[in-house]
């Protein structure tokens, strides 16, 4: 048996432990927001978080996640109402086109902003170059990340008596 903490829920699964997390999430848990793109960790469409870190779920066997926490696009708001600031920024910048890669793009971006609240262009290049977009939305993704960073920083600014 494999135990997964997925988007806050605990699930026990009787499955082949070598099955990549991607297929467990999509086929066994019915969470289809995480996408299959290449199967060899080249495109990033399958990106989700394992204990908060972005991983390529198409090459990570589910046994590596036994007892660990997985977050997918469906759980990115962590139970809070509304959208994650990055999701809102994606709407504001009208980022997605076909949209297929965007769950993976967002999961990479969420992880980036979680560890770096003011990323430079070079930081964004580094964090996001593992995610391919065939519709060419890179410019808008860059803008979306900067917009979301600004929103998040404004929300956490400590008011001063000035």
């Amino acid at each position: 048996m494999i135990t997964l903490k997925i988007n806050g829920d605990v699930r026990e699964l009787d499955i082949d432990p070598t099955t990549p997390i991607l297929w467990v999430v999509r086929e066994n848990l019915g969470l289809s927001g995480t996408k299959f793109g290449c199967g060899i960790a080249q495109c990033g469409a399958c990106t989700l978080h394992l204990n908060g870190a972005p991983i390529r779920s198409c090459v990570t066997p589910v046994q590596a996640a036994d007892g660990q926490e997985i977050t997918t696009i469906e759980g990115v708001t962590a139970g809070q109402d509304g959208l994650h600031p990055l999701q809102q920024a994606w709407i504001d910048e009208q980022v997605p086109q076909c949209g297929y890669c965007q769950s993976g793009q967002l999961m990479s971006a969420v992880a980036l902003l979680a560890r770096n609240d003011d990323p430079t262009d070079a930081d964004i290049d580094l964090a996001m170059s593992g995610n391919i977009c065939r519709c060419g939305t890179y410019g808008r993704i860059r803008k979306g990340i900067k917009r979301a960073a600004a929103t998040m920083n404004a929300a956490t600014e400590v008011p001063t008596n000035g």
Partner: protein
């Protein structure tokens, strides 16, 4: 009625001009009652087949095209909503079902057979423009950048305006006032003299009984309220929270999973399958022989894939198995040579006499260019879910051609076309690939073997190796230029013509022209690839005209400008791109600037690229794009399509290379068929001209210009002229990378 070939279908758009078109949106008898049965619920009234109004005064717009990221569900719906004077906030968009009132089976059968007998009921006049319009809607095909040009202009606007007219008539009747005293605003009818204002819903039932005009008065552009604005796209919210349902996300009760391997060498078939190795594998359900492919059905994709990899499959040997990419290029070169020797080139375009032009020339310039095969590599690998019950087959997938796929499946299963039901989903990229029904036929044949629904998913490797590829080609040029540098003759010979017809043609004022081609078929399957033939000819033509500018000792922008003196619409687009890019201003050391201009699918695009060599390879750092599509219905959507077309073309220019080894595609995944990534993506800016000319497309026209604009920029930076794609194969000699003086 004339017969129309498949090529005629695709190319008739270029014949369009000034025709009075009617009857597309509002067909004789306005067959709305047939549609209402299944399209409208109790609280809704259908006004015509594209439109229903709810009791809550909401508007539902029915769009006969697939959403693949181009924003079509938003843009063409805007066109109807604007003519209707609907409240955009209350608009819902749904995709038209493959029902006979939307999808014309007779037409599709003719299309699939390669010739079309046009049913009388659909048309009052048949000309190329009309045919294209009716077919792209009636066949529900999404491709050729047609949705806004044809469906939007001819169905949606007409449908919206006609519906508004009957709503007004019904209101005038009910209020007993003159219709000329009525106005409309945000889904309300207003009678100012009596200060009355009522929602459309109040008049919808009466309006539905009135006859609608096929030739309503349309708004002029200064009356637009929604067209020309960048409303948020309707499909975006579902694409940021994981809820958007693509073909691959179909989920049915009792569904199993399958994956497939087709014969690696195109043309081979299955000789033998050794299934012993998978006999005891838990979760494996069945091995299916599809003649030219083998599929495994299992409880999950992963098990199916593991089992497929273990199978021992023997494929038939064919002559194709010895073919290498170099053989194919040798064959192309041989075909060009022999067509010249035998005088049997196919004519494409001719003007004046090129021999006279060469005789008058001071200088002769010659060049040969080559491009490779290209795969589409949509992010969502090919997939289709099929469920066969009794004699009915249901399909769930993303397709650019639901009706055509249905026809193909019906033929393969030998059932009636009406018994194939296609549930179209969001497309995870199309680019032309999802116009080919191979995966649907495979899924249907697999499902026909079992009682449960089956989701067939191709591996990325299968997707890469069994695409329908953009053709490889060779193009040879010879031009004469006079003492002033002006071209006196333009001779172009190339291999393989597909569509659109005008792709090799040039906008430049050159008196003597001969453009012709040789056929040279290969065993590699051909397919529509974003901008189709423009994707190669854009590179060929705009690279060679740049070479002429260099030979003439002129600035490449000024040179093109002079040759466009009789083509002001092109010149305006070229000028805008050059101006916005600050053409002629100093650049940093080792950075070059290049320009190119193309017209495709009714839209003119000019691009200026700033480029340099980074880590031994070309890199575009900035792209300035100017576009004239007549009128940009959704300016931000237009900009998004320019960005998208540029990145798609840039990826191909830099890296795209499908090559044949032992008869099969050598590449298999993104490690050897490289994609442009975030760190290499240029800064792109788009500038729009609304010239008021006939509306053109947006999805494809940005792709053709980027490869030549980049190649021309690299020439400017290094002095190396790139005549073969992809550019990643270009070797830059050390001296080309030495610092050049800043001008």
């Amino acid at each position: 009625m004339g017969k129309w070939t498949r090529r005629a279908f695709i190319t008739t758009g270029v014949l369009a001009g000034g025709a009075v078109v009617f009857g597309v949106a509002i067909r004789r008898g306005n067959p709305v009652h047939k549609v209402s049965e299944f399209m409208a619920s109790e609280n809704e009234t259908m006004l015509n087949v594209w439109l229903k109004i709810g009791a809550d005064n909401s508007t539902t717009i029915i769009v006969p095209h697939a959403e693949m990221g181009q924003g079509v569900h938003t843009t063409v719906a805007m066109m109807l909503a604007d003519e209707l004077d609907a409240d955009w906030e209350g608009v819902t968009v749904v995709e038209a079902p493959a029902h006979e009132e939307y999808a014309n089976y007779a037409l599709a059968r003719g299309f699939m057979a390669g010739d079309i007998e046009f049913p009388e009921m659909l048309v009052d006049t048949v000309n190329g423009f009309f045919l294209m319009a009716t077919q792209s809607m009636g066949l529900q095909i999404t491709g050729g950048s047609t949705s806004v040009q044809y469906t939007g202009e001819l169905a949606m606007r007409v449908g919206g305006a006609s519906a508004r007219a009957v709503l007004l008539a019904a209101a005038a009747e009910k209020w007993n006032v003159n219709v000329s005293e009525l106005q409309t605003e945000k889904s309300h009818v207003i009678h100012s003299p009596s200060a009355r204002r009522a929602p459309y819903a109040e008049f919808a039932a009466d309006a539905a009984t009135l006859s609608q005009s096929p030739v309503p008065v349309l708004k002029s552009s200064d009356q637009f309220r929604i067209m020309g604005t960048s409303v948020p796209r309707v499909d975006v919210p579902a694409k940021v929270d994981g809820t958007a349902s693509f073909g691959i996300d179909a989920d049915l009760p009792g569904m199993k999973y399958a994956t497939v391997m087709a014969a690696p060498v195109f043309g081979s078939v299955v000789v033998d399958i050794d299934t012993d190795s998978v006999a005891d594998m838990p979760g494996v359900r069945k091995v299916v022989n599809l003649d030219d492919a083998v599929a495994v059905i299992a409880d999950g994709y992963w098990v199916a894939k593991k089992a497929l990899d273990r199978l021992g499959i023997t494929w038939s040997e064919t002559d194709n198995a010895g073919r290498e990419q170099s053989d194919i290029f040798d064959q192309f070169a041989g075909a060009l040579d022999s067509a010249n020797e035998n005088g049997d080139n196919n004519d494409d375009f001719a003007a004046g006499n090129v021999n006279d032009g060469f005789a008058a020339a001071e200088q002769i310039v010659e060049a040969e260019y080559r491009v490779p095969y290209l795969a589409h590599a949509t992010m969502e690998p090919m997939n289709c879910t099929a469920w066969m019950r009794d004699d009915q087959c249901e399909l769930w997938l993303g397709t650019q051609n639901p009706l055509g796929f249905g026809m193909e499946v019906a033929t393969a299963l030998d059932i009636e076309a009406e018994n194939v039901i296609v549930h179209n989903q969001y497309l995870g990229g199309g680019f032309g690939r999802r116009a080919f029904g191979d995966v649907a036929v495979q899924a249907a044949r697999i499902a026909a073997d079992v009682s449960y629904p089956v989701k067939l998913i191709w591996s990325r490797e299968e997707d890469m190796r069994h695409d329908h590829y953009r053709q490889a080609s060779i193009s040879r040029f010879k031009a004469g230029i006079d003492s002033a540098g002006r071209p006196t003759a333009w001779l172009n010979q190339y291999v393989e013509k597909h569509d659109p017809e005008d792709a090799p043609h040039i906008p430049y004022n050159i008196e003597n022209q001969l453009i012709h081609f040789a056929d040279s078929a290969s065993h590699v399957p051909w397919g529509f690839w974003r901008s189709v033939d423009h994707s190669l000819h854009g590179f060929f033509k705009e690279s060679f005209v740049d070479e002429l500018a260099v030979a003439a000792g002129k600035d490449p922008y000024e040179y093109r400008r002079e040759l466009l003196e009789e083509n002001p619409r092109f010149r305006d687009v070229l000028d805008l791109a050059a101006k916005k890019a600050d053409w002629g201003s100093p650049l940093p050391k080792n950075v070059g600037r290049g320009i190119a201009i193309t017209r495709s699918f009714g839209t003119i695009v000019a691009q200026v690229v700033e480029a340099e060599i980074v880590d031994g390879g070309p890199r575009a750092r900035r792209v300035v794009c100017a576009v004239d599509a007549g009128f940009a219905m959704h300016p931000d959507g237009m900009a998004a399509q320019m960005e998208s077309g540029i990145i798609y073309g840039l990826t191909a220019a830099l890296y795209g290379d499908i090559s044949i080894h032992r008869g099969a595609v050598a590449q298999s995944n993104f490690h050897d068929y490289k994609m442009l990534r975030m760190s290499e993506a240029p800064h792109i800016e788009t500038h729009i001209i609304n010239s008021g000319e006939r509306t053109g497309g947006a999805g494809e026209p940005a792709t053709p210009a980027i490869a030549p604009a980049l190649a021309n920029a690299i020439f400017d930076a290094t002095g190396v002229r790139i005549r073969e794609l992809p550019m990643s194969n270009t070797v830059f000699p050390d001296e080309s990378l030495e610092s050049k003086d800043v001008a």
